[in-house]
């Protein structure tokens, strides 16, 4: 701010004083100074903007979450009757406002998961068609309709994925959380079992928290 303000002020000075020849030299000097300052600023901005950030691994939250969803699809097993053998797709749905804003399509649509192609569909509101999805993502903005949405897919083989604090408590299967700007996920095994989903031990190991039991075993 300080740098920029200074830069602007110094440049605007010539406009005021240009009528006087005596001042023109002075103005030139100031313009030159301003240019130097600007170049310094550009370097600075460039430096801040690119060099440093490239050094760190940083990405858009929903682009990364989309990649997580792709891995979830690979590490979860759906009951055989949920996937028709002649249907070659795996349907990933979002409900209501879509926080991915096209990043699902650009990151994972069309990818193969065990010979099935990932397809993305957006639902504006809760309907019985949701039961046809294999993965249902319910974002923050739909937290108010969470109960209704989860009830609509209850006991069907839909892996629900959410990102609100109470998502697992309300019966969701996997919930994203943010911990110091990094994405973590938690798993509700009871809910997974109700939906007849088998979650691989690799996913369970990486989860930051696992709640509930599969009848008998942990």
């Amino acid at each position: 701010m300080v740098l920029k303000e200074t830069g602007r002020k110094q440049i605007t000075v010539p406009r005021v004083g240009d009528a006087s020849a005596a001042r023109t030299g002075f103005n030139r000097r100031r313009v030159a100074n301003a240019c130097r300052l600007l170049l310094a600023m550009i370097c600075c901005a460039n430096f801040l903007n690119t060099q440093l950030l490239h050094a760190q691994s940083q990405d858009d939250e929903y682009r990364v979450k989309a990649a997580f969803l792709y891995h979830f699809a690979q590490l979860v097993e759906w009951p055989p009757d949920a996937l028709k053998p002649n249907d070659r797709q795996l349907l990933l749905c979002t409900l209501g406002e879509d926080p991915f804003q096209g990043k699902l399509e650009s990151t994972i649509e069309g990818k193969l998961v065990e010979n099935r192609t990932l397809r993305v569909r957006h639902f504006a509101s809760v309907s019985s068609d949701l039961r046809g999805c294999q993965i249902l993502f319910i974002g923050h903005d739909e937290s108010k309709h969470l109960g209704v949405a989860l009830a609509a897919v209850q006991n069907s083989a839909v892996m629900t994925v959410g990102e609100t604090d109470s998502f697992l408590a309300q019966g969701g299967v996997i919930s994203f959380s943010l911990h110091e700007a990094r994405i973590r996920f938690e798993i509700n095994l009871t809910a997974a079992e109700k939906s007849h989903l088998k979650i691989s031990s690799r996913l369970l190991l990486l989860a930051s928290r696992v709640i509930g039991n599969i009848s008998g075993e942990r």
Binding site: M1, V31, D60, G147, Q170
Partner: protein, 705 residues
Amino acid sequence: MNNYPEIQASVALAAANCKLIEPNCRIPKRSLNSAMVIRHAVSWIAFSVLLLNLTTPSASPQSSGDLTQRSLEDLMNIDVTSASKKEQKISQVAGAIFVITQEDIRRSGATNIPDLLRMVPGLEVAQTNAHTWAVSARGFNGEFSNKLLVMLDGRSVYTPTFSGVYWNVFDLPMEEIERIEVIRGPGGTAWGANAVNGVINVISKDADETQGLSVVADSGLPGQGPNSVAYGGTLAGHGHYRSFIKYLDENHLTLSNGGPAVDQWHVLRGGFRGDVNISPSSHLMVQGDMYAGRQGNNLSTNYFGLPFPAVLNARVESSLGGGYLQSEWKHFSSTGMEATVHLSYDRYRRTEVIRETRDTFNADFQNHLAIGPRQDIVWGFGYRYSTSVSDQGISVYLTPADLNTQLFSAFAQDEIQVVPNHLSLTAGAKLEHNYYTGFGVMPNLRANWKMNDHRTAWAAISRAIRTPSSIDTAIAGNPGSFVQSGIPVSVLLVGNPAFKDETVVDYEAGSRTAISDRCSMDLALFFNTYDNLRTLETAAPVFSTTPYPHVTSTSHYGNEMHGETHGLELATNLKIVDRWTLSPGYALELLHMHLYPVSTDTTSVASLQGSAPRNQAQLRSHLELPHQLTWDVSGAFVDRLHAQSIPSYTRLDSQLGWRHGTHLQLNLVGQNLLHNQHNEFADPNEDVAPSQIKRSAFARMTVWF
């Protein structure tokens, strides 16, 4: 208890950089020579490059390539930027809301809650002395600003004795705060009486987010900042806990005349929180703390005694003590219903002007359910029992000295999606029955119109009440005496058991706009009409000859004032580059108070109108430097307070932070950097002499194990 969806995340919106750097450096042709042309061209190229840099969102770097090719472990190590989340969630709230996030708290360098609140555009935060703050929204500020409701995890910390908050004992380690939601404007429907001009909702972290040992040590001049130790662990079964001890010891400040202000204070506090998942669908939270400490007060008053007037100029040490225990049980049913039971017990004892012990028990039930996809209903009821025992202070006391009061309440609110994802209407009302004035109703009607992904507009009409406090109804005493025309005059103040509710009807509207993905703006306009505001009514003086000839002038509180306030609040966020964010804010507030003809009050109108800063402006800058360094600067301008002879001032605070791995954080904090010292508030209604708020600097070390 809060109906506002949790809002995380730094505001990473930004960028009207456009306007900021528009060069506008045309030089008339006749003054150009070739050298100038070259330089001019260079400067233009420079600007274009710079503008390109700043305005092209795609310039923000991303780890390129196909993320799905990376392992889950890799993905878990990527730092993510959650740019629009705050905006998305805030956009659903039909009200003037500002959220202080954990990141804002870390950046601020503040060591107490009032100082944290300084960043909220439209809040008035002023420090009277070392242990006293005045905090309000939209006018009516005072040491006991009685129109702001303050809560910690759903428990009100507003005392019904003075109608206000004892800010110095409303404390917890700053690291344990999840977020602070600040709502300007009435919140009576959701939160109940006294949420007249605003609600401050402090929400602490779940115990599982604060695991392990952490130590915070502050050291600096002139005071000793807070030091705290916290430990979090797991409970058998499915739960976590944490506990903490915090100690702070503040030196006294100085008075305007250079003398010591005798406002030193210290508090030792210990607390805990446990979170247990009883079953996958129910959650229990238990929380409590206890504190003890002392604060100095400089009391000076002329009272009715012998010889006349007797002068009291006492430096007293008041003892502070208290604690609370609360639990919250949440249950989610598979049909989407959410039920919450909240129980709390709270006790404090203070020996100030009035020595008082108060015990409060509170129970709330709340149910949240959706009816079809378009209706979202919250309803609930509550009960509060509060018992106060007081004894005579130096010149003022309460009559009756002991009082038990009960409060019953019930509320319901329905949010209807008129046009799904675009237009929603919220209608609700709260009904309360209190000890003093019986039934009170607080309805509201709100509309939220989401025009597109970048723009939301909202409007609201609401009514709220401020119920009488012990001071309004039961105060008795001799706050001052003087000699006029050779005759001793003794002033008596008596409470008014018939004191009415103060009421407000508030009309608000606002908009939230994301101008680009780097620039966002939040604007709120308000027009409030108040009635039955508190006045000081003085009866005709009475002459008496015992024990010696004197005149007694008796005053009591009345409800003979009405008025209007209006103004605007603007909060903006500009992301200049990915690592540099500027947050300018501005607030304007105008108060117009009027007395009813029967009133004999001569001070309240001027005192209210002149205790609110007409203009407030602030600019916060956050810069992320290489090597895990962050540098924050915040400047705030506060207009003068006529009624208090406080000139306008500008505060400048700065903080440099350095984080080393996951175990160490160092901060250097400077506060009030522009002035050696300045006054911020001199409450015309209280006896507290204002202290000079000093320039200060301190270092803080945080270690996690």
